[in-house]
Every structure is written in structure tokens, then in C-alpha cells.
């Protein structure tokens, strides 16, 4: 198969420039993950300049609208996103230096218990990297991580001298209920605001920040009612993040056990986990303008098809005036195939 353009043209209208204040939901299942789609959104937002290459050119300066992206990932670390974006030709580390991109690490220390003496006392604070892990000479390329003092807000957030900047902000969940969520929310909003205002000198305007939250449903699943976090609290949490960003993309899991066990048609009583997840996921879909659903092929796995992508209008579609005129996309169901080289081909059934 010939190598694919980074953005398949069938996909382009769906991933480029989500409208202001909109929420887009990407739903995935176990065998059809949404990471490749998230990367396409990153690409569409960050790789705005058509001509210049990433490696040697300047990015996004020529483009009329400057987009910035904050990626919050709860299931995958910085290494994954960096290397996968590189396969697309997107140098995230460089973009961090250029202050067009920020990564918030919700994986590394989200639940790690406070065992180091240097542990900050308040929730959500930045944690000095791995005090328990001695950084010795390693066989692999060294990943230097500059310790950042928690009080510094975020001026040291970006560390241009480091060759490969690690995840700059690490989230830590502590406490219960809204307090815990608030801590995380503040951290993320701080990153967003920082990116907003840190425009390079040429133009003074505040640029738009696209917020991508990767699998926040994990937070809900791993806390649950015993920590006083439910679907409502998570929904409000997302709402708070939405207010800070210009557009928001959220990925969630929509596996059948997580969604349908709690429905009225289920045969067995649902667990709180299932009920909470379903309420959160369906509630988000009600608030979304666009819902992009990934799932496996119904007919079983195939060698040249990775899955099915269905784009539907969410519950909030049409709330904004003029959405009909502006949103020039229609609902669609296509097949996609993620190739070994990372390219994605998108095609209709039977094509």
C-alpha cells in the first residue's frame, strides 16, 4: 500500500479546527484505540504550515490561525506520544520549546503514594523527578528532567536547554472528591493559561488552545463512589477545563461492559463502576457537538481493516447559532486501517 498522507482526506474535515467552545468526544474500545486519531488532531492543529518541514522549518507561523495544544494523558506516557508523533512528522519536543504544545502527564505519579521526603504537601503539586530512583548512567539515551520548584508557577515549565524535555507537568491525585479533582484541574488550567499567554513576540493576541484529555474516565474508574467522585463530579471537572480552553477533545472508553451493563436492558445489576462510567460517557456525549466512535469490525478482525469510525452529531450539536452553516460536515461511517509505518488510510465500505 502506498504511504498515506498524515491526514487522510476523508478525515480532514472532521479533525481540523474544532469550533470554539465545542466538545468533541472520541470513543474507543479495547481493540480499537483512539491514539491514532488523537495524533491526527494534534497534527491538524500543530502542523498548520503546509510547506515547511518540521525538522528544519518553522512551524505554524505562516498559518493564519495559530493553534496551541495541551495534551493531558492519563494512560500513556510522554515517550509514547513523542515517538508516535514523530512517526507522523510532528516533533513534539520541539513544539514544547516553541511553546505551541504542552504535555501534562497523568500517568507517572497520579496514584503514587507519597513516600519521598521531598513530597510536596499539597495536592497536585509538581513532584521532583524520581527522588527514589537514582539516575545513574543508563544504556539508553538519558532523559534529563529538570527539577522544578513547585512555587514557581510555570515559568520553568519549558526547558529549552534540555535535549529531550520530559513530561513537564505531572499530575498527582490526592484527597477525596472535589478537592482532589480541583487540584488536578488547577494544574491543567495553569498549563493552559501559560501556553495562552506565552505567545512569541510577533503578535500580542492570545492564541487559541486546544485541550486534549486522554481517557479521564480512568480517574473515575479508579476512584469511584468511595472517594466521592462520581459521573457528575467528573462532568463538572471537564466543564471547568472546557472553560479554560477554546476547544476540548476528550477520549473515553465505550466498551460494551462499561456502557451497556448499566442500561435499563441489562440482565444483571450493574456495579457502581459500570453505572458511573456509563453516566459519564453518555453524559459527555450529550454535551459534545461531535462524537467520533471507534469500534472493531463486526465481522471479526481483518488484515487490512483496523476498525470502524463513525462520526455522529452529539447531543449539543446545533446549540450554537449558525452551527448548521459553519459545521460543514455530515455524519459518516468509514473504515480505517493503521499501517505498520503509522500511516492511516480511511475508506468507505467496499472501497
Amino acid at each position: 500500500m502506498p504511504s498515506q498522507p498524515p491526514l487522510p482526506h476523508l478525515l480532514t474535515p472532521y479533525v481540523t479546527s474544532p469550533p470554539q467552545a465545542s466538545l468533541t468526544i472520541l470513543s474507543s474500545v479495547l481493540g480499537a484505540t483512539s491514539n491514532w486519531l488523537v495524533l491526527r488532531f494534534l497534527y491538524a492543529a500543530l502542523y498548520a504550515s503546509p510547506a515547511s518541514g518540521v525538522g528544519h522549518g518553522v512551524l505554524g507561523v505562516e498559518a493564519g490561525k495559530k493553534r496551541k495544544v495541551v495534551l493531558v494523558s492519563f494512560l500513556r506516557g510522554w515517550e509514547f506520544w513523542r515517538s508516535e508523533a514523530k512517526r507522523l512528522g510532528l516533533d513534539l519536543a520541539r513544539l514544547i520549546e516553541k511553546r505551541q504544545f504542552a504535555f501534562v502527564d497523568g500517568l507517572s505519579e497520579l496514584f503514587s503514594s507519597p513516600n519521598a521526603p521531598t513530597q510536596p504537601q499539597y495536592p497536585g503539586a509538581r513532584i521532583p523527578p524520581r527522588t527514589t530512583l537514582p539516575l545513574r548512567s543508563q544504556p539508553g539515551p538519558p532523559r534529563l528532567r529538570q527539577p522544578v520548584s513547585p512555587s514557581a508557577g510555570g515559568d520553568e515549565l519549558l526547558n529549552p536547554t534540555t535535549k529531550e524535555p520530559g513530561p513537564v507537568k505531572r499530575l498527582h491525585l490526592s484527597g477525596c472528591g472535589i478537592v482532589a479533582l480541583d487540584g488536578i484541574e488547577k494544574e491543567i488550567i495553569a498549563v493552559i493559561n501559560q501556553l495562552k499567554t506565552s505567545t512569541p513576540a510577533e503578535d500580542g493576541e492570545v492564541s487559541e488552545v486546544l485541550l486534549v484529555v486522554d481517557q479521564p474516565d480512568m480517574l473515575l474508574a479508579a476512584t469511584g463512589p468511595s472517594k466521592a467522585i462520581g459521573a457528575t463530579e467528573m462532568g463538572e471537572w471537564i466543564l471547568g477545563l472546557q472553560q479554560a480552553a477554546s476547544a476540548t477533545i476528550v477520549t473515553i472508553s465505550a466498551d460494551s461492559p462499561l456502557i451497556h451493563n448499566a442500561s435499563a436492558f441489562a440482565h444483571q445489576p450493574a456495579t457502581p463502576l459500570e453505572t458511573g462510567h456509563a453516566a459519564f460517557a453518555v453524559g459527555l456525549a450529550h454535551r459534545a457537538e461531535k462524537v467520533m466512535q471507534l469500534r472493531n469490525l463486526e465481522t471479526g478482525a481483518a488484515r487490512d481493516v483496523s476498525g470502524v469510525l463513525r462520526v455522529s452529531k452529539g447531543g449539543a450539536w446545533g446549540q450554537r447559532e449558525g452551527a448548521e452553516a459553519e459545521g460543514s460536515w455530515e455524519e459518516k461511517e468509514v473504515l480505517y486501517f493503521v499501517q505498520r509505518d503509522g500511516g492511516v488510510s480511511v475508506f468507505g465500505r467496499g472501497e
Binding site: 500513556r76 506516557g77 496514584f111 480512568m218 469511584g224 472508553s253 461492559p257 451493563n261 488484515r303
Partner: protein, 393 residues
């Protein structure tokens, strides 16, 4: 495949020392840690991988020829059999033989003493098979591909079939063995077997899984950074081992998440394998699904309910092969599905597994093409004298 059985008379002494590090290694393209035994770059994208201790499981893992470093494999098993436990023992034994640091959670030291005994490098056994296969090919050429699957990853991935065995042949003597063959009926005796660390399940003031996580973290942190770790969690959440509150989502999911975090650290080199009984935690439950989402690879074993005698010929592709003992389903493969899925040659296959004394073998599951016809033929031939199989049916 029964013909493999004849080829296993290899002495264990020659390959016990896997340190002969040849400067000319044609296959090592990437500069990822070359000196570590048991770690080799993936033929797919060069990331370091390590063997699961059973070659056919290695080959199932989306073209990487092993379990990529930093990835978790979740083995689910239906019923009360313990095939997954056998896979786990292979995995642990491979780690011992490769001088990796093995951490066993929730099991006493007896578990480590029951690891299967070492026979030799798996590649050596497979090479012999390959050579024999060339003879056999004239008879059963249509099964050539099936045989190739069981062979080393070089053979499985080669597009032109015959080229790789010869080159692999040359490498074999110089390169340390990546995967070994073990005998389940023997006991592993290896100097580094005492290095296995056991993290017991003990009651303490803090939640159990948090303390396990902390101990793991400390163990990983206290070892030299070049160490490759294996985390072995047998029969996770089994109520005979674990206290009941552990299966609450707010205990188990943060544990798996932190495990994932620990493993994804760029400084650590860890793989993990977890087995879990599906009879207690069915796949249709939301909690189980979250555990699967938090794992990089998910493999489900569905043993056939009958005794293997009843199925004597039904699942084997040829009469030479042993009958499969169950079906194997791959729900998620490391790296591949994280990228989006698809594009693996093994996808869409039905797999069957056979556990024999010496190996856990996974091969494409296929009902014999003409089972009904064969029976009819048999009946026609030996109508007057029913055979033993017929009676046993």
C-alpha cells in the same frame, strides 16, 4: 507437532553462558542495549523486547518477536485449569535463565522451585525442526506456513521463507539465546534462581496493593539501572490469595495504573505478566474491562472442556500434531493496538494452544478440512470392525 519431540536431546551446559558477545551482529540494527542477555531489538521497529519463555507466544506478539520492554501482558483463563500458570512459569524461568530480576507477587518460594527445567535454547530446537521441515515439505507442503509460524521470529517474518534460516543459523552460535526451551516435568536449577524476589501478601496498615506497589518500586529502584525486571503476578485477585477488598476498583485500578507508570518510566526496563481467573472475574464486567484497558496485551485462554482424548483428532491439522487443548484469543497486542490496531499478519486468526511437557505451542486453529468425510471413509472401510476411536466416541 510430534516430530519436535525427537529433537530435544540437547545438553544444557553449552547455552548456560549466554554472554559471548560477538562484535558482528548482523541483526542488531538499533543501538539499544546490546550487552543485555535476553533482550533484542524488535524486528518490527527496533524497540527492545524480551522473550516470554515460550517461542510461539513470542511470535504471537504482533511481529515484535517477544514482549516489548515496558509492556504488560494479561493472561486470562476460563475454567479452573492452569494453562496460564504454565505460561507464567515459562516466563519466570526464562527470566531466571537470562539473569533478569524476577519479582513474584503473592506466591511463596515454593512457586519458584517449581519452575520448569531448562532444556536448551529454543532457537536451536527450532533450527533442527526447520531442517527437518525441508524434508517434510515434499509430503505436506501445504502446512509449510504453519510450521514456519512456530519457528523463530526471523523465519516467521521473512517474506522469502528460505533466506532467514540460513542466516539465523550463522547467528545462532554467536548470539546468546533469546528464548529457551523448558521441561515442565523437571525442576529448574540455575545459579540465579535464588535471585527471585518474592513479595508476599501480608496484612499491614496500608492497603495491600499500595504496599506491594511500593515494594516493587523500591526493588526496581535499588537495582542497577541495566537490570531487566520481570514482574510475575500469578492468579491476580484470586480470593484464596488476596483479601476481598482488593478487588474493589479503587484498589486494583490504581495499582495497575501505577504499575503502568512504573513500567513506562524511561529509566526502567520492566516487563510484567499477570494471570487472572476469568471464572471469578468475567470479561463482561466493567472492572475486568478496565484491567484490560490498563494492560498492553490481553490474551484469553479457553481450554476445551473435554478431556483431550475425546478430541483426539478433531482439532489437529495433521495426524502428526497433538490435538489442541483449547482456544486462544488475542484481544489486544502490545504496541500494535496502542497504535490503533490492524496490520498484523496474525490478526483475524483463530488460535489453538497445546501444552505438552516441553512447550506451550500456539498454532492456527483449524478444523480438519474433511473430518466428516474422513469418518465416512473410515466407516466405509472398516464397517464390520469398528475401531476403538469409534467406540469411544
Amino acid at each position: 507437532m510430534s516430530f519436535r519431540k525427537r529433537n530435544i536431546g540437547l545438553s544444557t551446559g553449552s547455552d548456560r553462558t549466554p554472554t559471548s558477545d560477538s562484535p558482528a551482529q548482523p541483526q542488531q540494527a538499533t543501538p539499544s542495549p546490546p550487552s543485555t542477555p535476553g533482550v533484542r531489538p524488535s524486528p518490527d521497529d527496533g524497540r527492545p523486547t524480551t522473550s516470554t519463555g515460550s517461542p510461539s507466544l513470542d511470535n504471537l506478539l504482533a511481529g515484535h518477536g517477544g514482549l516489548p520492554i515496558g509492556k504488560t501482558l494479561l493472561l486470562e483463563e476460563n475454567g479452573t485449569t492452569d494453562f496460564a500458570g504454565a505460561l507464567l512459569r515459562y516466563y519466570a524461568a526464562e527470566g531466571v535463565v537470562q539473569d533478569q530480576k524476577v519479582h513474584v507477587i503473592g506466591m511463596p518460594e515454593q512457586w519458584g522451585r517449581s519452575l520448569p527445567g531448562l532444556i536448551g535454547p529454543a532457537e536451536a530446537a527450532d533450527e533442527k525442526v526447520d531442517r527437518r521441515k525441508n524434508d517434510r515439505m515434499k509430503i505436506a507442503w501445504r502446512y509449510e506456513r504453519l510450521g514456519e509460524f512456530g519457528a523463530g521470529v526471523a523465519g516467521a517474518r521473512a517474506t522469502s521463507g528460505d533466506q532467514s534460516p540460513s542466516s539465523a543459523d550463522n547467528n545462532l552460535d554467536k548470539q546468546p539465546a533469546f528464548c529457551h526451551a523448558f521441561d515442565l516435568t523437571k525442576r529448574l536449577t540455575h545459579p540465579s534462581i535464588s535471585n527471585i524476589s518474592y513479595i508476599p501478601i501480608t496484612r499491614s496498615s496500608e492497603p495491600l496493593l499500595v504496599s506491594i506497589q511500593r515494594k516493587l518500586q523500591a526493588l526496581v529502584a535499588s537495582s542497577p539501572p541495566s537490570t531487566v525486571h520481570r514482574i510475575v503476578i500469578p492468579s491476580f485477585l484470586n480470593p484464596t490469595l488476596y483479601p476481598p477488598e482488593v478487588s474493589q476498583p479503587e484498589h486494583v485500578l490504581p495499582f495497575l495504573h501505577s504499575l503502568r507508570a512504573l513500567m513506562s518510566l524511561p529509566t526502567s526496563r520492566i516487563t510484567a505478566m499477570i494471570t487472572i481467573p476469568l471464572s471469578l472475574f468475567p470479561r463482561s464486567s466493567g472492572l475486568m474491562r478496565w484491567m484490560e484497558i490498563l494492560s498492553d496485551g490481553v490474551v484469553e485462554l479457553c481450554p476445551f472442556p473435554h478431556s483431550s482424548d475425546a478430541l483426539s483428532t478433531s482439532g489437529a491439522a495433521t495426524s502428526h500434531e497433538e490435538p489442541p487443548q483449547g482456544m486462544l484469543k488475542t484481544h489486544r497486542l502490545p504496541v500494535l493496538h496502542e497504535r490503533g490496531g490492524g496490520s498484523d499478519q496474525n490478526i483475524g486468526q483463530d488460535w489453538a494452544f497445546t501444552l505438552s511437557r516441553r512447550k506451550f505451542e500456539i498454532k492456527p486453529f483449524s478444523l480438519p478440512p474433511a473430518e466428516g468425510d474422513k469418518e465416512a471413509q473410515d466407516n466405509a472401510r472398516s464397517d464390520k470392525m469398528p475401531k476403538k476411536e469409534d467406540l469411544e466416541f
